[in-house]
Symmetry: C2
Subunit: 409 residues, 2 copies
């Protein structure tokens, strides 16, 4: 970079995989002053939220302090209430105004109910730590309540809606939790069950049919029930009604069916059906503003947007840091191109399905180990986080969920 | 036990060190049907609460599910609202009535403010997980607030009131936390400080003068300020007023000065000044009712009651299980006799003071290692809990507090 080039102020809203990758890369390149804004002071390791929700990991293991993660970056905790691309300012709820030369929107996604009646009121979502804590407390508290007759035995039934990776993972983990609760609640445990409900004809739609079938049989081997082509019509506090007329009693309903970008910008007409901001092939939304990750709709070929997964967000974060540097140097910028890293879903504590972009498929324990080895290490990255990964491994493999399962409210 | 002896129903209120030890021993002996009642479904490992309060350990590490801890015991989660020794019943807040042949009161202690104005409103206590979480969130949130100008720099000052083991431990841990925050908040960290305030002329009054002096100099080496003969007059939201007239600004005030039994029974005239129930030398309170641990006032010689520490409670739990069996067999029961196990306090991550009953004194790292090795292993006990101890060790020693320090609210 030439000495005359001024330092550019890049503001990134959202401390997720995409935003933090972008921030880290910009600091490495130098010549940028980088500010990250998020309402939480930690990066949430969302792929393991289901572990917190089922008592497998403590909350602290999946919340990594942002400041420690990105030295050299200015972090601000706050809620953005207004973005002005013309004056190049961002206003926070606490009244502070932050100026930028370039703004990156990286706020990720949130749960969506598709307007199905009762979901908002009765289902537990799983997009942040509070929600995961609520699921864990509900799962465990029902045992206490049923044991002393405060709740009917049907309360021990769990219904999970949504057969994507999250739904499959939480179902497997609940099945294992229920199995391990038998020792503590021998009298009532036989009433516990978990049912996964999916509207499509198979689980894990983006995977191959073979992997879908394997996920289903693995879940069934753990004691879960899988209902396919089962669309939810409505739900109440203690049951889920399917469109077929079938009623599933449930003490805990987990909603893992819908993911969408936050609805704030839908009114601007800049979004797709999932509220994702439709950006240019270089991820530009409007002058001086870019978007990445779950929030951004980028064409992935065959008319479908790229999936809402961490590896897309991280590649886009790296891409934008590169693009900003090129732009400062006056170099041409090529469109973003996603390099498929494959996909994985874990089923319980020892099984997974993995599909590599080259067509390789793994399942069972080998797949699970590769999930642990590749996926987690790859996502975590960075010297500091090796300790967190080691801790996960320790908690997860060596000691199991035994000593962790308790309601802390 | 003869075959004609009926099974005795023992109900234990409180799942702390004393209550659970008693329950476990009774189950081992056989011939008793044991019920434990507690408002939380977990045993709190209170000696490490200060670690949770300062971000060193996740909450889950010090909350062990009761049911897993004591197989063979009937556990009920609930609040006891009434005890009737005549009808031999206990009533819970949810309306359930539990019958007993023998009742053991083992509810432990709570914080007390000695009526000092402002303590209730402005100081954070540290007797349960919620309180520890509040301290941690306050300590960390102040950095965020000061960094963006939402709070004055004095908010980074911490005042700890009470120079007993808990106050010393939390002060040392806060000093280390502040030291490690320098990397994340380089601009403002110089304003952080921690002051320990104690009304007596030295810290750790029950220890020798040498250990007291060592604790003070160890704390000072960590950067803490220690104020002796400094009695608190009153406090407000952002400062602590001493009787000397000195005012200590503080963003976080931790109250570690007073411990007392719950006040419920004080009206009966059965208690001492600390609300402890005055029991007979065999721990009997009244017909069919016994008390143990922090809740029970047992003469420890020289007119002073035994200290409120876990080892007293555990020995009393074991003693009562023994006494109940002897009583069933018609054997004589000797008074409870405390076997002093020594005392320890840790100062930061690598130092401690230890005093053994034989007069041995340890300090520094050797003492700290013996704290870890003896105290923790001794208190934890049991096959299952080895895993928790290993986990503590892992979290505490191998990885440090780095990746854990974040506000999760």
């Amino acid at each position: 970079m030439s000495e005359s080039t001024p330092v550019e102020r890049v503001v990134i809203i959202g401390a997720g995989f995409g935003g933090l990758t972008c921030a880290r890369e910009l600091v490495k390149k130098g010549g940028f002053s980088v500010t990250v804004i998020d309402r939480h002071p930690y990066q949430l390791f969302a792929p393991l939220l289901y572990q917190v929700a089922t008592g497998g990991l403590p909350e602290d293991d999946i919340a990594y302090p942002v400041r420690a993660a990105i030295p050299g970056v200015d972090f601000r905790r706050g809620d953005v209430v207004h973005v002005n691309p013309d004056s190049k300012t961002v206003r926070l709820a606490d009244g502070h105004v932050v100026e930028f030369d370039r703004l990156v929107l990286a706020m990720g996604s949130t749960g969506t109910t598709y307007g199905i009646p009762g979901v908002d009121e009765h289902a537990l979502q799983m997009k942040d730590i509070k929600q995961a804590r609520a699921i864990k407390n509900s799962l465990l508290q029902k045992y206490e309540d049923v044991e002393i007759g405060l709740a009917p035995k049907e309360s021990l039934r769990v219904v999970v809606v949504g057969g994507g990776p999250t739904g499959v993972e939480v179902t497997g983990a609940v099945a294992e939790l229920q199995r391990s609760m038998k020792r503590e609640f021998p009298k009532i445990s036989k009433h516990a069950s978990v049912t996964l409900v999916e509207a499509a004809p198979r689980l894990l739609m983006p995977f191959s049919e073979k992997s879908s079938a394997r996920a289903k049989s693995d879940l069934e081997a753990l004691g879960a029930t899988v209902k396919l082509e089962a669309a939810v019509d409505r739900m109440y506090s203690s049951d889920v009604h399917l469109k077929s007329g079938e009623v599933l009693p449930a003490g805990t309903i987990v909603w893992a069916a819908g993911v969408a970008a936050p609805p704030e910008w839908a009114v601007l007409g800049l979004t797709d059906r999932a509220n994702r901001l439709i950006v240019s092939p270089t991820l530009e939304l409007t002058k001086n503003v870019w978007a990445l990750g779950d929030l951004a709709h980028v064409d992935g070929g065959e008319g479908r947007p790229l999936p809402m997964v961490a590896s897309v967000a991280m590649q886009q974060g790296r891409y934008l840091a590169d693009a900003f540097e090129r732009s400062r140097k006056g170099e041409a910028i090529k469109p973003f191109k996603y390099k498929d890293k494959g996909q994985m879903a874990t089923i319980g504590r020892r099984r997974a399905v993995v599909e590599m972009p080259n067509g390789w498929r793994l399942s069972g324990t080998v797949a699970w180990l590769s999930w642990l080895g590749l996926h987690v290490f790859y996502l975590a990255g960075g010297r500091n986080r090796v300790s967190v990964v080691a801790d996960w491994f320790w908690n997860y493999v060596a000691w199991g969920i035994g000593p962790r399962r308790t309601v802390i409210d």
